[in-house]
Symmetry: C2
Subunit: 245 residues, 2 copies
């Protein structure tokens, strides 16, 4: 379990100890992303000592998300401060697919939490850490309207593709028409600028989309169809979606 | 059923006629929104005639989405053109909550399709067609981290709130802290700028959020808890979510 504050450590410890249980605690470190995490290696060392001292908790190590260029140095400093206090740092856990291939270079990480790499997505292509051919997640959608020569409407909107917009303004890559721009999403419709396509998508055509963000897209669907080549081999349930309570 | 092209009308008609069935067809009209719909009243009249002539279809009238200030005049012209061809226009259907209270003023509409009004949301507050007190949909979320004095992290991200961003850059209204800005969403975390809050949200505090977009938010959840006053009266299943195939 990860935590970044004394208050949460104490509540966790009390709850665990009351049940006669013990958990290994990773101190959550903000190494540059600006989300959760302690703000300095000194604060990480302070929480490590507290975790080691509290009943119900065992100090397990450090974690961060995502792994950024400066994350390794930050965590090495924290590890040294903690070791100087006589504690072992068993686990140093990094996160995120974008930095995954370079995480080992700093030599400090013992674990890598990467999820997006299972599928890959268009934001990953744009960021340069995956190629289109490696993107396993595809959304199939039908062109339901071609009201003008510049516009096609597909039956995939924000309930199908997720509303993560890329810097270039498109909500996904249409594989058969790479010059098409999905410039807006209604709930059930994708609005596609086809003015640069030659030929443009035809009415009733079924197109294949690499979504911008695989994680949020999968979360919208109850099932995914697994394929090997062109054969559908299994319908898999998306077990964890809707698990937010 | 609505359609905006000869090709779709012909395919619909053939499929229906092959099964000995008939459907009432509304011609989908683009009265300014720029999504689906025929581009001119003349085109609407042409499809109306085609629908009336094809087996399996009956011409039922006109539809548009959303209802905009110019929609009434556009549809009145189309209706006159169609009536001049000897066809009756039984239904003229308008859509959308933002224009719902003014849809009757044009005198042409016979039907209003409004969905968002059931809940109301923050984009509706911003647009001025609903007040915060009327917004029935609330997301309850816990402050899980307060890493700096300016930042709080809540356990509601893009899998809870949907990633529809408002023009002011916030992903929702925190009722107890209206000066807080949910400036970014990770999948499971909301990033909140609390620098203008006095007092700021406390660690472990449970906050109440009016989401930006009720439709997309409800679609992320399997159930909603219905309340009357402070009493929870029923857990309702979100029956239509995940119905995208």
């Amino acid at each position: 379990v990860g935590a970044d504050s004394e208050a949460v450590l104490r509540e966790l410890a009390a709850a665990l100890a009351a049940r006669g249980a013990t958990a290994s605690l990773l101190v959550d470190c903000d190494t540059g992303f600006g989300r959760t995490g302690v703000q300095s290696p000194e604060d990480a060392a302070g929480l490590a000592e507290l975790a080691a001292a509290l009943p119900g908790l065992r100090f397990g190590g450090l974690m961060t998300h995502p792994t950024l260029p400066g994350s390794g140095a930050w965590l090495r400093t924290a590890r040294e401060l903690i070791e100087a206090r006589g504690l072992g740092v068993e686990c140093v856990s990094g996160g995120g697919t974008p930095g995954a291939r370079r995480t080992h270079e700093s030599g400090v990480f013992t674990e890598l939490r990467a999820g997006n790499y299972v599928f890959g997505d268009r934001l990953g292509i744009t960021a340069g850490h995956v190629h289109e051919v490696d993107c396993a997640l595809r959304v199939r959608s039908t062109v339901v309207s071609t009201p003008t020569s510049a516009r096609a409407i597909i039956d995939a909107g924000s309930k199908t593709l997720a509303a993560d917009r890329a810097a270039d303004g498109s909500y996904g890559l249409i594989v058969e028409h790479p010059d098409a721009v999905i410039y807006d999403l209604s709930e059930e419709h994708g609005h596609v600028d086809v003015s640069r396509c030659d030929p443009p998508p035809a009415l009733s055509e079924v197109v294949t989309i690499v979504p911008n963000h695989a994680c949020a897209t999968v979360n919208l669907h109850d099932t995914v169809a697994l394929h090997r080549g062109t054969d559908e081999v299994r319908i898999a349930r998306v077990a964890a979606r809707g698990a937010v309570r």
